[in-house]
Symmetry: C2
Subunit: 337 residues, 2 copies
DNA sequence: CTGAAAGCGCTTACAG
DNA sequence: CTGAAAGCGCTTACAG
């Protein structure tokens, strides 16, 4: 491995000057700089990030927390899309991302341990459960953090306009003539679930529509199975079945669709369904899914901007960014006949 | 930030002894160890990974290369599933993963630059294009590497038994009475595409079935759109249309299904389709997709084992692990009538 | 069982 | 415009 000393020896300059040339200091003569840079290329020198981090206290590394309630981790379509965008933007700013976990080398560690050990410059938190203690601990720590899809007063936050998304969904359904609208909600410990439920209630009230208590069913943590089970429950309301269901997540909508299919209910002829997320699959299933689009690219981009900004300014001011959503009408909703 | 010096000062021992206690050296007295560990907990001390890496030349970091031919990165269902499993296993062994990219802070860098800069201990390469020069450069470098879904003589490799998968698919179709079987192949620069094609040809030959040249269509880089276009082409073979199509990837199969739907072809009544991968979506679409299951968990697990083994032994021997596949029969295939 | 000292590869005042 | 020196937080021979 070639070091800064090798370059110094080869070029005859001191390591101080080599370091300066490498870091684009202005007070290095053009000729010197060229000689050094040529040697760098020739010898295949790469600055050692550990040594640099040790002196500068900056790791150029961003921690990612992915709470895996569902055990699917990166397979989660929404979070993985956000992370991809976050990663691209962070990289463009020179940051690498590293996943923070609780299990390092078989030992139980906290996220804070892990983040401190690696000396990350900031952390993005993506998790559904806002009550997680470890996550809370991190938010309260001195690490700059940005939280996606969750609200906090002690951290910057970025999330979709969940409330408005629900309004859009209900408006669409009402426009199609539906009045008996049910809701499969996300779990109460999730911010997105809560907000979407709140939006649903507000929208129904706006249209002077009442909501029988049996019309709100818990679909859990946004999984296909959760949606399936919840829809089964709704389908048992024989006498007074809803004509439309607003499902708080596309994965759950997938499960709901499956339940309908099994019960011989045709969507959208017998029942209209609108989801939330706009995961890619929604375009490929039959019927294609009407849903609320979340702009994952923008969420990831904003999250990285907000976080890096916070790192650079070392400010204690937290940003709260709301990302607009939009309704995507496809085949799973239909005017009531 | 508390350091080893703070612990030393507080406990009255030297930093040498503190370091030893921290690293579970046996030659530290029980009492001493306890005193030190208690101080560690009390003061909230976390060893600094940069300092440690600098002295030990080991970063406990594994690089991940994700070539994004499709620009979807982590959203790729197959690779993201493999990576999730890889990550979990690597973490259990004490390694963190870091994504290697070509663009660091706006400057064009090679993967090798990035890997050298971060001093990763090993690298997992997941990319479809086996001709990529940068990837080739990495494989030839001294870094321990493991390659997924690609063959190389200069690196350990882990991949599904693609050849066998194609055999299973064709056998299944033949058993159902199909004789006119077409193939939507993956791009020729991809190892998986090539192997699956080879398996398809061998299987057809085994059954003494001929393959008209028009029956093999290039679906490109395993995207939904590529499959859609390829299927459109097959559907134009009016007179001599195949009764079944073996598609080299599930995403492409999704596109193929869409093309059929648009053209009024009912799957499986008019045409049987079998995919490859077993992505989760396949279970939720209509019809559900018959496919070849790839064991992404095992692929990721084996990849991490092979890589870590190579790191530990510093051997130059490369492992080649083939992961078994299996046929999953669902609704998209049917006996010919 | 414990400690003093050197060294890992860098950056950054300080001095000239 | 350039260099000598100190220091970042660890680990590891070496010595006792």
């Amino acid at each position: 491995m070639t070091t800064i000393y090798d370059i110094a020896k080869k070029t005859g300059f001191s390591i101080t000057t080599v370091s300066r040339a490498l870091n684009n200091y202005t007070d290095v003569s053009k000729t010197t700089k060229k000689i050094i840079l040529d040697a760098v290329t020739e010898m295949g020198y790469y600055p050692n990030s550990s040594a640099r981090s040790l002196t500068t206290k900056k790791s150029w590394t961003l921690g990612v927390i992915f709470v895996e309630d569902l055990g699917i981790g990166m397979k989660h379509p929404f979070f993985s899309a956000v992370i991809e965008s976050f990663k691209q933007n962070a990289e463009a700013q020179g940051y690498d991302i590293i996943f923070l976990s609780r299990n390092v080398g078989g030992e139980e560690k906290s996220y804070l341990d892990h983040a401190s050990h690696r000396g990350v410059d900031g952390i993005i938190i993506m998790c559904s459960d806002h009550k997680d203690k470890e996550v809370q601990q991190l938010i309260e720590s001195p690490f700059p953090t940005v939280v996606v899809d969750l609200h906090s007063d002690q951290s910057s936050v970025v999330y979709s306009d969940n409330f408005r998304g629900s309004m859009l969904a209900v408006d669409h359904l009402v426009e199609l003539g539906h009045r008996n609208i049910a809701h499969i909600k996300g779990h109460d410990t999730t911010y997105a679930g809560l907000e979407r439920l709140r939006g649903f209630r507000a929208a129904m009230e706006k249209h002077s529509l009442s909501i029988p208590s049996s019309y709100i069913v818990d679909g859990g943590f946004f999984s296909v199975d959760g949606g399936y089970l919840a829809m089964k429950e709704l389908l048992q309301l024989n006498e007074h079945r809803p004509t439309a269901v607003f499902v708080a997540g596309d994965n759950m909508a997938l499960g709901a669709l499956k339940a309908c299919k099994e019960s011989g209910i045709t969507v959208p002829d017998d029942l209209s369904i609108v989801g939330f997320d706009d995961i890619e699959v929604g375009q490929h299933i039959t019927p294609t899914l009407t849903t609320i689009h979340q702009d994952t690219d923008l969420i990831g981009k904003k999250a990285s901007e907000v976080l890096i900004q916070q790192i650079n300014t070392r400010s204690n001011e937290y940003a709260a960014v709301t990302i607009p959503v939009k309704l995507i009408v496809r085949e799973s909703t239909k005017a009531i006949s």
